[in-house]
Symmetry: D2
Subunit: 369 residues, 4 copies
Amino acid sequence: MPLKPDLPLPEAESRRIGFAIVGIGKLSAEELIPAARTSEHAAITALVTDDEEKGRAFARAFDLTDADVYTYDRFEELGAREDVDAVYIVLPNSLHREFTERAARMGKHVLCEKPLSVNAAEAQAMVDACQAANVLLMTAYRCQYTPHHWAARGAVQGGKIGPVKLLDSIHAQAEDDPEAWRMKLDLAGGGPLPDVGIYSLNTVRFVLGTEPEWVFATLHQPKDDPLFREVEESVSFMLGFPDGVVANCLTSYGAHKTTTLRVLGEEGAVLMDPAFTYQGLKVTITDQGGEFQPKLPNPDQFGAEFDHFALCIRGGKLPWTPGEEGVQDHRIMDAIYESARTGQVVRLQPVPGRDAFRGEKPEVQGQEG
Amino acid sequence: MPLKPDLPLPEAESRRIGFAIVGIGKLSAEELIPAARTSEHAAITALVTDDEEKGRAFARAFDLTDADVYTYDRFEELGAREDVDAVYIVLPNSLHREFTERAARMGKHVLCEKPLSVNAAEAQAMVDACQAANVLLMTAYRCQYTPHHWAARGAVQGGKIGPVKLLDSIHAQAEDDPEAWRMKLDLAGGGPLPDVGIYSLNTVRFVLGTEPEWVFATLHQPKDDPLFREVEESVSFMLGFPDGVVANCLTSYGAHKTTTLRVLGEEGAVLMDPAFTYQGLKVTITDQGGEFQPKLPNPDQFGAEFDHFALCIRGGKLPWTPGEEGVQDHRIMDAIYESARTGQVVRLQPVPGRDAFRGEKPEVQGQEG
Amino acid sequence: MPLKPDLPLPEAESRRIGFAIVGIGKLSAEELIPAARTSEHAAITALVTDDEEKGRAFARAFDLTDADVYTYDRFEELGAREDVDAVYIVLPNSLHREFTERAARMGKHVLCEKPLSVNAAEAQAMVDACQAANVLLMTAYRCQYTPHHWAARGAVQGGKIGPVKLLDSIHAQAEDDPEAWRMKLDLAGGGPLPDVGIYSLNTVRFVLGTEPEWVFATLHQPKDDPLFREVEESVSFMLGFPDGVVANCLTSYGAHKTTTLRVLGEEGAVLMDPAFTYQGLKVTITDQGGEFQPKLPNPDQFGAEFDHFALCIRGGKLPWTPGEEGVQDHRIMDAIYESARTGQVVRLQPVPGRDAFRGEKPEVQGQEG
Amino acid sequence: MPLKPDLPLPEAESRRIGFAIVGIGKLSAEELIPAARTSEHAAITALVTDDEEKGRAFARAFDLTDADVYTYDRFEELGAREDVDAVYIVLPNSLHREFTERAARMGKHVLCEKPLSVNAAEAQAMVDACQAANVLLMTAYRCQYTPHHWAARGAVQGGKIGPVKLLDSIHAQAEDDPEAWRMKLDLAGGGPLPDVGIYSLNTVRFVLGTEPEWVFATLHQPKDDPLFREVEESVSFMLGFPDGVVANCLTSYGAHKTTTLRVLGEEGAVLMDPAFTYQGLKVTITDQGGEFQPKLPNPDQFGAEFDHFALCIRGGKLPWTPGEEGVQDHRIMDAIYESARTGQVVRLQPVPGRDAFRGEKPEVQGQEG
């Protein structure tokens, strides 16, 4: 996250889209806030947290003042801040709706961490609230903004590997803190599925551009493990897409860190491994001629999201991954949980067309468009 | 497949276990017959084929005479050949039963290519016939005889990666000859599942040592593709093992050649890629300390099978992969097809214990036991 | 370079070792200044540059004020700054001596970018000046402070690969700006050799712990290329170490970016590829058992240097890579240029013992010591 | 080395170019003789060895009779064998000349293992003898006949990586038998240099197509190691090519098995690793767009040599690697040893043009020409 040598001067900064970061946890601290510094069009202008000491420390570190730090109950004071165009919600999933609605009421645009909410109904309510308030809502799917994922999508959709037949994806990691909010069902809305499995789900949909017609899933929640008292340990799910294309996915909170995506075409294949990490993404495109690892830039993934949303706000465009994109993943995750509960295939509403829930294409470094 | 410089002299050859190769196709020509030359304990002493010209050419090439070549209708003449201890059946799947039974009636042991037959009932009949005739029956699962697969199993069962949570395997390839027997349902008994998907199925079972309790599967057979008039193009199947362990598998005749196996444990992972090729197998064992690719010998896989079966015949031992091992895969494949047909989970007969269908452990180069 | 969530508060900051960064170019902007933020024991408290506008922008970005920015002719004003314990010199090589001497006269410790100077005599003068002034001098050899380089050294010196026989290293990149100071002989003191080839030289010495006894080298400076009017395009050099160990090295400003190090032992090998990049270092240790890529932390390399030097200043210890380490590389580079000029082997002063020019071992993450 | 299913019948065999294998050691047994079976145009028709028992065993294994086995003193009896068109000399290096001359006197063509002889003078005598007798002489440089080496050459010469700047190659292995003929100076003519280092030398020349102008080298022969009583343990050599291109090479009999070749161009690079093995060759071509591993066929390397020489004999063409190619490597190796002895650069006779010592281009699978 180098500070660029051609550091923008304060005048420029004042014309950037201002974001209030809502929630200061590990993700905010280690990724989002540093990312904002690499952003061309966005700036952080306020922080919202109940840990005021931490908030002030961050403020000092990022050229803000104590006056830029707000507690959650003072959230509405942001309404008066002209330099706050949008909020970036980085709270436990079950709080996404409340803060989205409060932001929308103030006329602030909303960038919300994935998953958008805890189920499709809640997520849809967020979309409705933003629409009613005429503010933009974007789901923060960072893997739809990297050169590597666009290269994978380009190889798949550009015909380089022939007609796609099968996909396979894994996103697993080992959790060990039973007190983390992600292990609490009411805060997280689920276990590894909405937290990390969603990357497999979302990226498979992104790479294909189409929507699944059915799901089958099974989950495992060990009986006596205090870690998994509330949420599942792992989920295996199968997604059926049009034309017999099937994606097999695995996700777990109890397994060695693994992130992969493989797309098998008739004449070639695309492999991403690692597929979903913050850094070090690697794409291999195989066809009859051999294996190719394109050399791609590695812009900060969160910086790319900030920039895209800032440009959408400035231009009044629907983001590439709007709230609707997040709702659709919730519909599918709801179906996955239902399938796991009933042991039955669950059919989904057919969705014709391509990129049905997506908006304005982002500018992605190293891609032609 | 180098001829060893310390080439055994004919006297030695006469003391080896003699095999008649039944069926001379690509596999026999390119793999089995050269492999027999690398075998320490086995020798090819007869050939059975209706293509007599090809048979004679092979005979000449391998120190046999025209008199060592038999047509299928003269198969029973092998009964009188004292130097034929066993037959190796390399015929279309639907013929496995007939020739196994004919061999058993002559008191010849049977090494049969995978899949053992076309369904569990037929396969069980073969086991019964061999038992009644007191001859050994071995299913030719070459991937249970390589140093690489034993290293993977060792890492999994030895606890190196912690408790196993999830598995993932792919075996896909692109077929293009609609006239090949493997594309005919009555000869093959199925499409990619019994031909290549069986490697994923069989290896997952081998690596775990346990048996699946349920399966879910979906298959795709394109309507207008002359290639897939009789058999499916691809199958996605999920296998549920004890303790919530799930394996996701993909197999296809319509996709880029891909063979992988991944085992996710709580503290590490095992990756084989390629996992099922004749040569160039690669195992990566990952744990907290890093990634390790053990250096393993690459003995000929078919030679290893010849040697193991020859030693079992000589010692009167049940092979590591007897007919029963082949029957079990058929049971599971029958269930996979049933699940794909009904859209329902299919439960399997619980099988307690470990390696329930396996016999004498093979000696595998580079493994301690 | 994430800002840590447990961000140190200002009180803590005031107890850190304060550095004035002397020279604000690409390296300062993109690496050093962000790195300082990851440092546990160091803080940037002043900036020295003649580009005052850039200086003020950086100051604002890093919690400094306009008053913390100094021009070169006001360098001596730092003497009065109690919160400036040391200077980090990031100027063209030929200016290292002057600013080191000026800093030493003020009683400030000196961390100086590599190469220490433009030749051994100048470098020695810097060591002498710091010694006379009783301040510490450290050469900023970041590759002696990474877990990966220590893992390589550990494998080599710990006997894991048997007695070392041969080494091979490449550091090449393509330059294209004839106006860059590194292309000016009087500023840089040489071309790719002192700039990037020095990594091969320094790392080979670090990994072995011994010193070369002779060198042979050849260089290429194309006649009509405006890029290489003053400095060589590439240098090939051979270093003879005790016991017949030889290292072959290549360095270039005219070739595809390549950074590798290979150490061949009797029973194994160590490969680093990439070997000298800021991120993504990879070590593979091969022995009779296979290949191993240890999983190592990736702390910021410059942050590790800051921390080590800060601890040395606090504890009054000689740094692991003091000025003497830099002088020795200059002696060898002087000999390399002499060999290239004369076409003769050049013998070096024998240096007995191990790590003869190094001081206090650094604490390196992921290493035992 | 699979026997092809469309095995040629004896009539065809009688029209192939017949080779007598002279010397039956490990290479003959494990590689050459099996390779001959994969050859389209060559057949082994006689064996020459003083180990008659081994000779007869091999004869039986390859459809020859006891009458096809000759002792060295009966070598001249091959003269009368119309089905022996050529001899393939696989003897200790110091015997290459004698048997080449004896074969030439009989009018038999000669395929001779590398190195062609023990020094340039002896090698030149072999060329002269064959020329006088009007028979063809080919040096068996298998790495000039593989798809992988031609792909590397194609990338280098086709401009894909821009102008070549530097090369780097290693061929090392660990020997342990002091009684092997390769450890005897009078039989081998040197140590690792003429045995394995020659691959680096020869391939660097092949890939560039030009000839070195000077060499510098150093060698190490440990004093008290019985293994290296007669020959050196390792050699480091530097080859200077036109336009300032330099190749650094390492070879050893005392180090971990390593075979690599790296070519650095201005805009890309070619890496072969492994570079010189019988199987598993891997080429990576890197340019601004990324890394590419072409998928290439893996024909038997020795079979390719047999075929090329057979076609040259049939068509009366100079082989791609004639005796002259072998002489040139000896000239350079003579210079390498001289440089190591004197510590001086040794200049070589300038050789203008490209592929100055090569003949008819071979047909190589997967290459266009």
